[in-house]
């Protein structure tokens, strides 16, 4: 009780500070990185050579090793994801580290390296950051000690770490609630940022990885399935916290990547089939409307694809080709019919995109 009283007190102080800050707003400096796309290059697992690339829409040029160039040191990460919240960017390194950079110029403003095991994704809300963390592997390569960390953005300290169902992945904040997919389970949990505990959980197909909100504010979840069950695309009614539509994707083996267009009515997801000699994957990108999700159509087919994104401004499909992590990867862009528009080289193991549209 004292604890919650105390945190309530802290909250009050923080709010006072916040209000005071708002009274005296700083002039907004325009970021150099305000009209382009960041490419999250995971790097190779054993080399920790993840890096950040940036493609500038105006100049149509790509810059690699952005973090290293600006901060004069290698990112040296197993780069999982990046998210921006308020004036900062959060670079999530699966090596148990978060690099915090200024959104304005990508200069380093801090590092969090304790208390994290295998962090995956970040989302910010009020004065806190929420980080999904698989937790360490046990002897049988499972992750029984997964966590949700609550990061106090004032002092950049982890305030609390909550136990979580295994392998929490994608995280989303919607209507002041935190939604988290747990990919080693069949659960999406719902956290309340107020009391910072689970208030609900939604049963979905096995292996939920990513989700998006459509224009009707329904949640679409892609899951990879478990050993015997296949993957699925499911629609979740958030008001009732239940699955209302199920599209079986066992025929296409979804790899967990999901994106939605600008209008919020066309979904894109990726299937993955291994070649017979296991030297590469054949990937296909499918699109489906939210009204007829079962009638998905293939628009792209390329080997070794690893990441998928939609530029929400221009409605272009971005795919990342990790070339099986043997070296630097590539980014391809397509229109919605699957016609290739652009192609360029990025860092090793590209896996995700963060669009910066002014």
């Amino acid at each position: 009780m004292w604890k919650s009283f105390f945190s309530g007190l802290v909250m009050v102080f923080v709010m006072i500070l916040f209000v005071q800050c708002n009274d005296d707003p700083e002039p907004v400096e325009e970021s150099f990185f305000n009209y382009g796309v960041f490419i999250v290059n995971e790097g190779n697992f054993t080399d920790s050579d993840g890096s950040l690339s940036y493609y500038d829409f105006d100049s149509a040029r790509v810059g690699n090793n952005v973090f290293e160039t600006i901060n004069n040191r290698p990112l040296a990460a197993i780069f999982q994801s990046m998210a921006f919240y308020e004036q900062n960017g959060y670079i999530i390194d699966s090596n148990g580290r978060i690099e915090i950079v200024s959104k304005k110029d990508m200069t380093s403003v801090g590092t969090i390296s304790s208390g994290l095991a295998l962090p995956r994704y970040f989302a910010g809300h009020t004065n806190y950051g929420y980080i999904t963390d698989w937790g360490p592997y046990d002897a049988s390569w499972a992750n029984p000690d997964s966590k949700i960390h609550i990061l106090d953005l004032d002092n950049m300290q982890i305030k609390e770490s909550l136990n979580a169902p295994s392998r929490p992945e994608d995280i989303m904040i919607y209507n002041d609630l935190i939604y988290i997919a747990h990919s080693a389970t069949n659960l999406i949990t719902v956290y309340s940022p107020d009391n910072q505990e689970v208030i609900d959980s939604i049963n979905v197909n096995n292996g939920p990885v990513q989700f998006v909100l459509d224009k009707n504010e329904d949640l679409w979840v892609i899951s990879t399935g478990a050993y015997i069950s296949g993957g699925a695309l499911q629609k979740v009614d958030l008001a009732n916290a239940e699955v209302v539509q199920n599209v079986d994707l066992s025929g296409i083996s979804p790899n967990g990547r999901l994106a939605i267009n600008r209008a919020g009515d066309i979904l894109f997801f990726m299937g993955e089939i291994w070649s017979l000699d296991y030297t590469y994957t054949n990937n296909k990108v499918y699109k489906a409307t939210i009204n007829l999700p079962g009638q998905y159509t293939e628009i792209i087919s390329e080997p070794n694809l690893y990441g998928l994104g939609i530029d929400p401004k221009r409605d272009e499909v971005y795919v990342a080709d990790a070339v099986a992590f043997q070296g630097n990867g590539k980014v391809y862009t397509f229109d919605f019919s699957g016609k290739k528009i652009n192609e360029y080289s990025v860092g090793r193991g590209p896996r995700d995109f963060v669009f910066m549209n002014k």
């Binding site: 190779n44 080399d47 920790s48 050579d49 901060n71 040191r73 290698p74 990112l75 040296a76 990460a77 390194d93 090596n95 148990g96 580290r97 380093s108 590092t111 390296s113 002897a139 291994w274 000699d277 296991y278 030297t279 590469y280 994957t281 080997p303 070794n304 070339v323 099986a324 992590f325 043997q326 070296g327 630097n328 090793r348």
Partner: protein, 691 residues
């Protein structure tokens, strides 16, 4: 502490059998040479000295310490005279462990010289090999896993033989050179170029021959040494050897290392590049070697060689992951029983070996292999033809958590060799080997070698040598049996190799040696683990083509009682992926990762009276980290200094040596994000006794 060691020493004296006079000294030592020695010197020896005409006071005690040919100095104490081969030292019996050199006139061979062996006594095999040879070692940190890349090949493309038995771990087909302390071996020979026809599997880049030998001239001698190094590095070494009666020779060695290894380094991956102390990199290692040689008759010898090595290491994490606390325990027991008899119808050698390797990673996953090896060799000569044939049988049992139950594999090799010395200037050799393993057909591995002496007089030797061979590497146990992924149907790798070299040696007051060797090879069915659906899978993926050259040279100039030695080595190697079953293989037409194109070294060594000093530089060229050659690690060079002094106390010797590694405090990475120490020091005190 010291007291305890003295007690141990005393105990060893006590239990040693009585050491009688050596009858062979009176006869003069039998000459060790086979036909090879008629030709003069093998090329690509390291710097050899102390072996010839210089008078004893020329170099005073260093000569005695580093004698290579005991014939000249039979009265002196020659404590480290371990280059004497393990020839069965009996009249009429000239067959010995150097068959390789005799049957490979076309090969280039480098023997680690005895001064270096002594100077590197407190280091590991990778340190001494890379010091004088253009051979790259990929090291996962300071004192951590160290794998070889010889002439642009991969870590499992070098055969490592201990007294003629391949000791590469059968699970991964390679050796961790950081687990081989230099002091464990009397001879360290580096064989350049492919040698599968002689050594069997793995010998595509070359071979490392490690040998223990007996010196029948000694009654009792030995040494005790203590080393102290930076970062709390302590090493104790002990060696007692000598004859017990006329027919038995014993050699016992013991070593124990404790290294906290908490060196400081600049963490280039962190904001502000802070200087940090390396965590979780400590090393504890000890080992015992025991050799027993028994002259069972005037024509036969029984040798039993045993080596137990224990190592418990924290696994040095990368700069990125400095909180990781993984550990690795390695234990190996290697036993060899070797019986040789020179009968009227030729020389027979019967060898039995038991190899036990145990590895425990993170106290979680055990990897145990046991190998039962039997070998029968026959050798004879008729006129100027020498021939040899034999067979090797290896029964491997593996207990690996990731294999199905108990996995066993039998490997049988049959081989033969022929060498002709009839022509004055020419030597020819033919060798052939076939391996049989259930599940695949290993390629027949023949080799043809030739050596032509262009100049051969009392001062100069100029050789032209060449060799053509087909070589192979069988899939490792992991490649075949690992669950998930292992594939029983993998094909062995097959390589075609061509070597040619020119070696020159000049011996007078000034000595000069130089060798230039070039090579070409291509490896088919190169096995690579590639990412599969949920796990990695080995596959015969690539065809790799490589070529390059090695240069080594040394010159030795005495000025009065001062001896100057300068040596240089350089290697250029290109190894390039030419074909791949995956047409999108981004390694295509690129240099293999972690194989430097340029590598080399330079040493100046000066000796006067009982002092020596050495300044050396080792250069490691740029290494690509990825197959597409887009990411690399910069080249670096390291400067090292060492000096030593011998103090003679009656017939005993006190030897003190001191070294500074990385003199310029260079911050470098051998592998990406693996910290290496800056300037560091080591001091060693050895007491060498001789009865």
């Amino acid at each position: 502490m010291l007291f305890r060691r003295l007690v141990i020493l005393f105990f060893i004296f006590l239990v040693s059998p009585s050491f009688a006079e050596d009858p062979f000294i009176k006869d003069g030592p039998t000459h060790q040479g086979g036909p090879r020695l008629k030709e003069g010197l093998t090329a690509r020896k390291g710097l050899t000295f102390g072996s010839d005409k210089r008078s004893a006071d020329d170099l005073s005690l260093w000569d005695e310490l580093h004698v290579e040919d005991d014939a000249a100095l039979e009265d002196d104490i020659s404590i480290e005279d371990d280059l004497v081969s393990d020839t069965i030292r009996m009249k009429g019996l000239t067959i010995h462990g150097e068959y390789f050199e005799r049957f490979s006139p076309g090969s280039s061979i480098n023997n680690a010289d005895s001064i270096d062996k002594f100077a590197f006594q407190s280091y590991n095999l990778n340190d001494i090999i890379s010091f004088k040879n253009p051979i790259y070692f990929k090291s996962y940190g300071n004192g951590m896993l160290s794998s070889i890349s010889f002439r642009g090949t991969g870590a499992s493309h070098t055969a490592v033989l201990w007294n003629g038995i391949n000791v590469n771990q059968p699970t991964i087909g390679q050796s961790d050179f950081s687990l081989f302390p230099v002091l464990a071996f009397n001879n360290i020979r580096i064989i350049y170029g492919a040698s599968s026809s002689k050594f069997g599997t793995d010998a595509i880049g070359g071979g490392i021959l490690l040998e223990s030998t007996a010196d029948w001239n000694k009654t009792l001698s030995g040494s005790i040494g203590q080393y102290l190094g930076s970062f709390n590095n302590f090493l104790t070494v002990l060696n007692v050897k000598g004859k017990a009666g006329e027919k038995v020779y014993l050699n016992s060695k013991f070593y124990r290392r404790k290294n906290k290894n908490d060196f400081e380094y600049t963490n280039i991956t962190k904001a502000g590049q802070p200087v940090e102390k390396q965590q979780n990199a400590s090393i504890f290692q000890y080992g015992i070697l025991q050799d027993v040689y028994i002259n069972t008759s005037s024509r036969s010898q029984l040798a039993v060689k045993g080596w137990f090595n224990f190592s418990n290491r924290e696994v040095q994490p990368t700069m990125v992951n400095e909180d990781a606390d993984e550990t690795q325990k390695d234990k190996s027991l290697r036993l060899i029983v070797d019986y040789g008899i020179n009968s009227g119808i030729g020389y027979f050698e019967l060898k039995g070996s038991y190899l036990w390797d145990y590895m425990l990673y993170n106290n979680a996953s055990e990897i145990i292999t046991r190998q039962y090896i039997g070998q029968l060799n026959y050798e004879n000569s008729i006129n100027d033809w020498e021939f040899r044939f034999g067979s090797n049988f290896n029964h491997i049992v593996a207990e690996v958590d990731n294999y199905d139950d108990q996995t066993a594999e039998n490997r049988t090799d049959i081989y033969g060799g022929l060498v002709n010395n009839s022509l004055n200037r020419w030597q020819f050799s033919l060798n052939i080997r076939q391996t049989f393993v259930k599940g695949y057909d290993a390629p027949l591995s023949p080799s043809a070698g030739i050596r032509y002496s262009i100049i051969n007089n009392s001062r100069s030797l100029l050789f032209l040598k060449g060799q053509a061979a087909i070589n192979y590497r069988v899939p490792t146990l992991n490649d075949r049996y690992w669950v998930p992924g292992g594939r029983i149907d993998l094909k062995p790798e097959k390589s075609r190799n061509l070597d040619a070299s020119l070696s020159y040696e000049y011996k007078s007051r000034i000595k000069f040696e130089a060798e230039l060797s070039t090579y070409y090879y291509n490896v088919d069915n190169w096995i690579l683990w590639i990412p599969g659906p949920t796990y990695w899978i080995p596959e015969n993926v690539r065809k790799v083509e490589a070529y390059g050259f090695d240069i080594s040279s040394s010159v030795e100039v005495p000025i009065g009682s001062y001896l100057s030695q300068l040596s240089v080595n350089y290697g250029y190697s290109r190894s390039i992926v030419r074909e791949s079953i995956n047409e999108d293989d981004i390694g295509l037409n690129n240099q293999l990762p972690y194989t430097p194109v340029h590598i080399g070294g330079l040493e100046y060594r000066g000796l006067i009276k009982n002092w020596y000093g050495s300044l050396s530089m080792n250069y490691t060229g740029l290494r690509y980290v990825t197959a597409d050659n887009e990411s690399d690690l910069p080249s670096y060079y390291l400067l090292n200094f060492r000096a030593g002094k011998n103090i003679k106390i009656k017939r005993q010797l006190l030897s003190i040596d001191f070294r500074i590694n990385n003199l310029l405090n260079t911050s470098y990475q051998n592998m990406k994000f693996r910290a290496m120490p800056g300037r560091n020091y080591m001091i060693g005190i050895n007491f060498l006794f001789d009865k």
